[in-house]
């Protein structure tokens, strides 16, 4: 149909397509990303989970910590007589509504993942850029730190740090505004619950920034010797301008990919920490501690671990697929 009309129309009367503004870089990236079906689907999935967790207080049928002792371990779709509502995904070991807790947990788990990934990427970017650009002492120190951190078993040390910091609030007092921001975003009690969330964010970030720093340093090292940097310098640009305007944008594509992958890593680390009972603890719901409780009663209630487990796997895979799609879309050498 379309070809028929096109063939029938006088060429001169057509829109002057060739003269239109050429596609921008990001339009091309977007177009290429859209071809990666799994990545697009993953993005949609993450968006849905995010949205659901954003409006959690509106759509949650029960209160987060409301206990119904008569209904423990009830299977999905059990009606609650006194409330006149249905426990869509059943109830947990003390009779709290699983669906409600899953929504609030999504909010906490995902915001921890996003905060951790953003913080560690920003820190890594800054440190890596400075070290790669200025070389010398800073670079030497950074390389030693990276070497040290990559050759020790970080996960056990991370566990120790989390367990120690979680035990005594006096060891590391967090400023009030941070506590309030966290409790506002994650809808948790500022006094009692914010702290362990902050500890988890801090601990994962401490061990999470090295990847981004290494990547950024490598990119900067390869970019800084190029001709356009030299001409920028010849034109009188100072170091800060060169780093911000020329070096960082050039190193950006792999960093975005690394960022999505560190989202997945932040998510699984938080889940693992809370699963082991050393991260965010009950009554604050996270996918990790929900998994912890449901696996304890797994032999008698086998379906229970699947409810928090499936969202964990889906979002972890989704972040990976998005990263994969972005990698393909951002690589100009790859013909699609």
């Amino acid at each position: 149909m379309a070809t028929a009309t096109a063939a029938g129309v006088d060429i001169a009367a057509r829109e002057p397509v060739a003269l239109a503004k050429p596609e921008g870089q990001w339009t091309i990236v977007l177009r290429r990303f859209r071809r990666h079906r799994l990545a697009v689907f993953s993005l949609a999935l993450i968006a849905v989970i995010f949205l659901a967790s954003l409006i959690a207080p509106l759509i949650a049928p029960f209160s987060r910590d409301g206990v119904n002792p008569a209904l423990r371990f009830s299977p999905p779709l059990t009606p609650s007589v006194e409330a006149g509502k249905i426990h869509i995904l059943g109830t947990d070991h003390v009779g709290r509504d699983t669906f409600t807790r899953l929504l609030y947990a999504a909010r906490i788990t995902l915001s921890v993942a996003v905060t951790v990934a953003t913080l560690s990427t920003l820190i890594g970017m800054t440190v890596g850029a400075l070290a790669g650009y200025y070389r010398g002492m800073i670079d030497e120190a950074l390389m030693r730190i990276l070497e040290f951190m990559s050759s020790i078993p970080t996960f056990p040390i991370l566990l120790i740090l989390a367990s120690v910091l979680n035990q005594d609030p006096r060891l590391l007092p967090f400023p009030d505004f941070l506590v309030n921001i966290i409790s506002g975003i994650m809808l948790i009690d500022a006094q009692k619950e914010s702290r362990s969330v902050l500890v988890v964010i801090l601990v994962i970030t401490i061990f999470g920034w090295t990847g981004a720093a290494r990547l950024m340093r490598g990119m900067v090292l390869s970019v800084r010797e190029r001709d356009f940097i030299e001409s920028a310098r010849a034109l009188g640009a100072n170091n800060l301008w060169i780093i911000g305007r020329h070096v960082v944008p050039n190193a950006f594509p792999p960093l975005i990919v690394a960022y999505t992958l560190s989202l997945a890593e932040g998510l699984t680390t938080e889940v693992a920490l809370s699963f082991l009972g050393l991260g965010i603890t009950d009554p604050t719901p996270t996918w990790g501690n929900m998994l912890n409780f449901s696996t304890q009663f797994m032999l008698t209630h086998p379906w229970a671990p699947l409810i928090p487990g499936i969202p964990v796997v889906l979002s972890s895979l989704a972040f990976n697929f998005i990263g994969d799609g972005l990698r393909d879309a951002l690589d100009p050498r790859l013909k699609m």
Binding site: P156, I160, L161, F275, L276, L278, L291
Partner: protein, 396 residues
């Protein structure tokens, strides 16, 4: 080469020292430990018994300052004043404080000094106090909570074999499967096999080990048992009593078959996880090598394709894999912690978690130290191996 090894060993010792100090500081500023229990117990019944608290503090060196405490833990010294030719020195050095407050010290020569401590501990007070032989003599002290008063090493002895078995088996299987898989997938790039392989490997590496373990238990332990199929155990390392498995027969508790039967699921989970990332790595490294000129030369001079792949391409493709193996060692310990916890497997990782939860810090620190040391040795070994597989590289 020898010079290099000696230098590296020094670096390893220095790093282990740093790690030991940092973990020691972390755990000594942490609340809990032996005192926590006394506080918890006594707050229930009567008032706190100051004598008991002081005894416990002395027993675990909790009254000492950080540095002398660390030194005693690390080396087993100081055990009292320095004795040289019957003369003792530094006996008056204050090394700790049993009770906060203020005190006046009157020296024999008439000096009077005010100090910020009601009951100071001096070096001479350490004489006769029980002490470990120090980390350097492989004495990690005593467990305070899990197995009270038992040496940490004894706790480890019963667990380390289980962990090594789990990690060794899964690492061996992963390597044995990853190499042919990765190479086959690279040689047949863009084939259906390659497509299925890359997708599965991608999913496998993105899937958290935690959930893979839970899923394994759900399917092979619970569902299979329900269905009357030959099932696998959900956890632990040996059965308490003989078990009858459908279509398979009786498994004697504690027998070799019983151990293997318990290892299947945890080993499979760890293997799948490693396999996914390692075989992808080998695939890309093989693809890189297949593009090289010397591979084209080998083909051009008429070598059989099999020889080209096995002798010319594969050997070179595996060189970077050697470094990768060292790089994943730290991660192996993390993965083992999670897998052991999911399967209730009595290994070092689960002991570590139990120690952290119970506040048994001597055990936790020993785990960190041992795993750090093993990892560092692993790195060293991979560097040496590198020179073996790649003669272009010389250590200096």
């Amino acid at each position: 080469m020898v010079n290099y090894l000696i230098r590296r060993l020094f670096v390893i010792l220095a790093m282990a020292l740093i790690v030991s100090f940092v973990s020691f500081v972390l755990l000594s500023i942490a609340p809990g430990g032996p005192l926590q229990e006394i506080f918890a117990m006594q707050s229930l019944s009567t008032r706190l018994d100051p004598d008991l608290i002081e005894r416990t503090m002395k027993r675990y060196d909790l009254d000492l300052y950080l540095i002398p405490r660390y030194l005693r833990w690390l080396t087993g010294h100081p055990r009292g004043p320095l004795e040289i030719n019957g003369q003792s020195y530094f006996g008056d050095l204050q090394v700790g404080c049993l009770k906060e407050g203020r005190a006046r010290l009157v020296y024999p020569d008439g000096r009077v000094v005010e100090i910020d401590c009601e009951k100071p501990v001096f070096l001479r007070d350490l004489v006769g106090r029980p002490v470990s032989n120090g980390i350097l003599a492989l004495d990690f002290g005593k467990s305070t909570q899990i197995l009270r008063e038992q040496p940490v090493m004894r706790l480890f002895e019963s667990r380390i074999g289980n962990t090594l078995l789990l990690m060794g088996l899964s690492t061996f299987l992963s390597i044995a499967i990853a190499i042919p898989l990765g190479i086959l997938s690279a040689v047949k790039q863009y084939s259906r096999f390659d497509y299925i392989f890359t997708t599965l490997a991608f999913i496998g590496s993105g899937m958290p080990t935690l959930f893979m373990g839970i899923l394994g238990i759900l399917i092979f332990a619970i569902l299979f048992k329900e269905l009357g199929l030959p099932y696998l155990p959900a956890g632990t390392a040996i059965s308490a009593r003989d078990t009858v498995v459908p279509l398979f027969g009786t498994i004697k508790a504690g027998s070799f078959v019983d151990r293997l039967w318990h290892l299947v699921l945890p080993v499979a989970v760890l293997t799948i996880f490693n396999l996914a990332s390692w075989s992808r790595f080998i695939r890309s490294s093989m693809l890189e090598v297949l593009r090289q000129d010397y591979v084209r030369t080998a083909r051009a001079k008429g070598l059989v394709e099999r020889l080209v792949i096995v002798k010319h391409a594969m050997r070179n493709a595996l060189i970077p894999f050697v470094t990768l193996l060292a790089g994943v060692l730290p991660g192996l310990f993390g993965g083992a912690i999670i897998t052991e916890s999911v399967f209730n497997y009595p290994g070092m990782g689960r002991l570590f978690i139990a120690a952290l939860t119970a506040g048994d810090y001597n055990v936790a620190i020993a785990f960190i130290l041992i795993s750090t040391f093993l990892v560092l040795i692993g790195y060293l070994m991979s560097d040496v191996l590198y020179t073996v597989v790649d003669p272009r590289i010389r250590l200096s």
